[in-house]
Symmetry: C2
Subunit: 346 residues, 2 copies
């Protein structure tokens, strides 16, 4: 079974909530990144954690699946990975226990839950759902390019894996804090778990890529902002197709360019240089105009995690001066980030 | 079972040949386009046709599957469609007969052959293959952008469905006729059947789109030309992701822009204007430079099927003068097309 369980054709994924976070028997904190990310970004949607001998903890209350169900939980999320992305055999009995307690199971692992016979059998018997968020919904439409109501921000990048998800989450929070209606629209696995729904854009068949992005951010009120998590980079020789389908289908009013100073070569490529911020702005605006002629750049989100505070401030100020745009690190926040948010909304 | 039956990881589809063309009980010539296309473009790979009451004919010899196998055939190709793209129940016995005669079955229909229990059972029992060419090979890699040896032409378009496949076939034939080694590289269903292999680019998961194009046209001799069938258009709000992944992964040395004069609005869109030829050249060269800095435009392939001969000649001459590039209709051929071929190869 794939992640679609909405009867209408071509909806985005929607996850049952709140969650019980499954830590299994994990002893290595690096393998529990998903659980920590959910605690940090979706803590109000997590009722507790379920361990079968783990030494790592999220700090949330320990619960059995039955206790979690009684506390309101509706899904167990596999919050850990192990090397190889497989599901360890000794986890299966605990997952069956969760199904029996009334919880659906949500996984972002490579292995499909329904390929594990004991889980498939238990889910069928109990009428519970096994939700693999790497699997796109069935029935995705092709794009039409029709202009939708509401406002949209898309985070784009000079490369992969430099903060597009984090930036989108931070922008959506900051907009909502200003009393303006806003939704984070997730396009990757971690984001989908945090948001409780979304579209795994990199797993969508290319013919439906723009169409999938169109249904991810549907018509909305005129004053509503969707903040769409970007993927890849238009300059990446492997992933530009994902980025362009997402750009066309999102039809953003505003892009925010994410960049990491010092990253000179693009991830996983045969020596491809990272484009400049200006090139990235220009190409995204040029291609984005095809579906939204009013697209503009709201500013730059800079991942300064490898710089100390003084150096980060110096680099961001210099770049802001040079580009004539707000430049901020959403992790550092502050006035610079507030200026970036304001410039997106203006 | 999907179309991959090559043991190495991530190869393109390869079809068993030659073919027996299955016409079933078709009475409407429009439903036999695949069979006619194979007769016209891959006649040397077709040993005959197999009818169970069809009134349409390709003109090839009538044969039973057993006779076709004896004549060298190794696959039965379903050469007809019916409305809905389904496989009619009364075809199944004939397809089982083909499997029993030693033929694999090749289909481009929406329905999967292996979803029909009688076919799945017979194929398993006889160790024969059911090949759905809408299904991409398993194990596709992500792209790397590594420059490959050999030369490549990619046909690109101002829109969908205006002659990119036909142009690529005609260019590959014309290059081979000049004694220069050349291969047509198919990216759509009809092309894959004609070529006996290829990659169904619109069915590939977007994360692997460029990687799939990379393995479609592998390293080759320095004087060898791959002519890659284009898909979609960079300007199409639904399909630009397919086009960009194919452009990046093909890393063409030469593009040929396909255009149909008089087509003002893009197929299937909410009123999107067709871009100009100049815009199409410029955007393809700009984005294509990312993986091949030496990319250039070899000329324009014009679909003049709606014009009479005089009008077509006048339009093509005027466009050639205006653009400073060869402009030809490969269906009309002649000196104009020879000039286009020469300009691609120069």
């Amino acid at each position: 079974m794939n992640a679609q369980f909405d009867p209408e054709q071509g909806s985005a994924i929607r996850l049952p909530q709140p969650y019980l976070l499954f830590l299994a028997d994990t002893v290595e904190p690096g393998f529990a990144k998903t659980a920590f990310g959910l605690r940090d970004w979706a803590g109000d949607k997590c009722v507790g954690e379920f361990s079968i001998g783990a030494t790592v903890t999220t700090g949330l209350p320990h619960m059995t699946p039955a206790q979690a169900y009684a506390a309101g939980a509706r899904a167990l999320v596999i919050g850990v990975a192990n090397s190889g992305g497989v599901l360890a055999p000794n986890w299966v009995a605990s997952l069956v226990e969760a199904l029996e307690a009334g919880l659906d199971i949500v996984s972002g692992m490579h292995v499909r839950l329904s390929d594990i016979p004991q889980l498939a059998d238990a889910a069928a018997r109990l009428d519970r759902r096994l939700i693999d968020i790497r699997v796109p919904p069935a029935g995705l439409p092709v794009g039409t390019g029709r202009k939708r109501s509401g406002k949209r921000i898309l985070t784009v990048g000079t490369d992969c894996a430099l903060g597009k998800k984090y930036t989108a989450l931070a922008l959506a929070s900051a907009i909502a804090e200003r009393g303006i209606p806003a939704d984070f629209r997730a396009t990757g696995q971690t984001g989908i778990m945090i948001a409780g729904g979304g579209m795994p854009m990199d797993a969508v068949v290319s013919d439906f890529e723009a169409g999938a992005a169109e249904i991810l951010s549907p018509d909305a009120a005129d004053d509503h902002w969707d903040v769409v998590e970007g993927q890849g980079s238009l300059f990446h020789p492997a992933y530009a197709a994902v980025s362009l389908g997402l750009l066309h289908g999102s039809q953003p009013d505003v892009i925010v360019v994410c960049h990491e100073p010092g990253r000179d070569e693009m991830l996983g490529t045969a020596g491809y240089k990272t484009p400049s911020i200006e090139e990235t702005i220009e190409l995204n605006l040029m291609l984005g105009r095809r579906t939204n002629p009013n697209i503009r750049c709201g500013g730059i989100s800079m991942n300064t995690s490898k710089l100390d505070a003084d150096e980060a401030a110096r680099v961001m100020a210099a770049e802001s001066e040079r580009l004539g745009l707000p430049v901020a690190d959403p992790i550092r926040g502050g006035e610079a980030f507030a200026a970036l948010v304001e410039n997106c909304l203006k």
